[in-house]
């Protein structure tokens, strides 16, 4: 049976991390997890140590993509077959991981936990951005991804090396689009997400604009010029 690692990127999540992690340990002991503290300025790391949680403590802030890649490198070193990202604020519910694993076992490389499979998106600015990215991915890859910005994604064994070690493979929609073009099989499973109950979101308004511009330019323009990823390539043993 394939072993799944849950990556929990945490930036200033002192108010949430205990609740999120203890629920995971209590109700979902079948999964391994690793908390990646992304150079938090609050007590996140100290609290994790005090509770004996499995913690990778980055000395500096690398941003969500950097923290995710730290988790991916952990997965690579420990030889996991599947990795799923659960946000440290608890908005992603672990009960949907089993559905994602089922899809992975059916041969998919990436499984996205989607809030909008068969459901309408609310009319907010954020969802306008989501629709735009969905449209661009449809246009360039033909794939229908209803929730491209969902942070709850599961990656199979073939994806881990690329996501851990290569530049320009952050956990973002353009990476998904690009991996589809490189031959990765992607699907979605319906999930429910909770609103964050405490703490600050990564994405501020100023960052959102740059985020949207980068993702859109990357999907509709840059990807035509990138080298396709070799999904069969083995990881450099220096990392194992």
């Amino acid at each position: 049976m394939a072993k799944t690692l849950i990556i929990i990127p945490a930036y200033n999540e002192a108010e949430n991390i205990v609740r999120v992690t203890e629920r995971l340990i209590r109700d979902f002991p079948q999964y391994d997890y690793v908390i990646v503290n992304d150079g938090s300025r609050d007590d996140t790391a100290r609290i994790c140590r005090a509770h004996g949680f499995n913690l990778v403590d980055q000395p500096v802030n690398l941003g969500l993509a950097g923290a995710f890649r730290t988790g991916m490198k952990y997965a690579l070193r420990h030889g996991y077959d599947a990795v799923v990202q659960l946000d440290g604020d608890g908005q992603h519910r672990p009960e949907f991981i089993a559905d994602m694993e089922t899809k992975l076992a059916q041969g998919y490389d990436i499984v996205i936990g989607s809030r909008f499979v068969g459901a309408k998106k609310p009319h907010t600015l954020r969802m306008l951005g989501s629709n735009l990215i969905q449209g661009f991915i449809r246009l360039t890859t033909g794939a229908k991804i209803t929730d491209p910005t969902s942070g709850m994604r599961m990656f199979g064994a073939r994806m881990i090396r690329t996501l851990a070690l290569e530049i320009n493979f952050g956990p973002e929609p353009d990476t998904i689009a690009y991996l589809i073009r490189s031959g990765a099989k992607v699907c979605e499973v319906p999930v429910v997400m909770d609103e964050r109950t405490a703490g600050q979101s990564y994405l501020t308004l100023g960052r959102s604009v740059k985020y949207m511009a980068t993702i859109c330019v990357s999907i509709i323009f840059v990807q035509w010029f990138r080298k396709k990823v070799n999904l069969q390539k083995e990881a450099n043993t220096a990392w194992l």
Binding site: E166, D174, T214, S218, F225, R226
Partner: protein, 116 residues
């Protein structure tokens, strides 16, 4: 001096060169896509000015600059100075981060060694 045909071709050539440089470096995994965004927009402005020199004429009249070419120069210099400043800020932040990482690693190693 007005925007001559040769000058417009020069702008276009510069944009093409810029795009080629940026894309080939992304291809060789040496440039982050998020960092390339500026260059795409910069190249787009070059193309825009080359194809529609009326923009430079209109803006130079508005600002009271005698020649549209001078406005193009001014624009390029201003954008580059702004960019340079942001790069300086980023460099400072990175230096601070690297220093912090190295110091923490060294202090952690010292703690491990003194425990043994």
């Amino acid at each position: 001096m007005a925007m001559t045909f040769a000058f417009r071709v020069l702008l276009l050539a510069a944009a093409v060169l810029m795009l080629w440089l940026v894309l080939s470096n992304i291809r060789r995994a040496k440039l982050a896509i998020s960092d390339s965004l500026f260059w795409f927009f910069f190249a787009a402005v070059f193309v825009l000015l080359a194809l529609f020199p009326e923009i430079a004429f209109w803006a130079s009249r508005l600002l009271g600059i005698q020649s549209p070419v001078n406005l193009v120069f001014l624009l390029i210099i201003a954008v580059l100075i702004w960019r340079l400043f942001h790069l300086t800020l980023r460099l400072s932040a990175q230096n601070a981060k690297i220093e912090d990482i190295a110091q923490r690693m060294a202090l952690d190693a010292n703690e491990r060694e003194s425990k043994q």
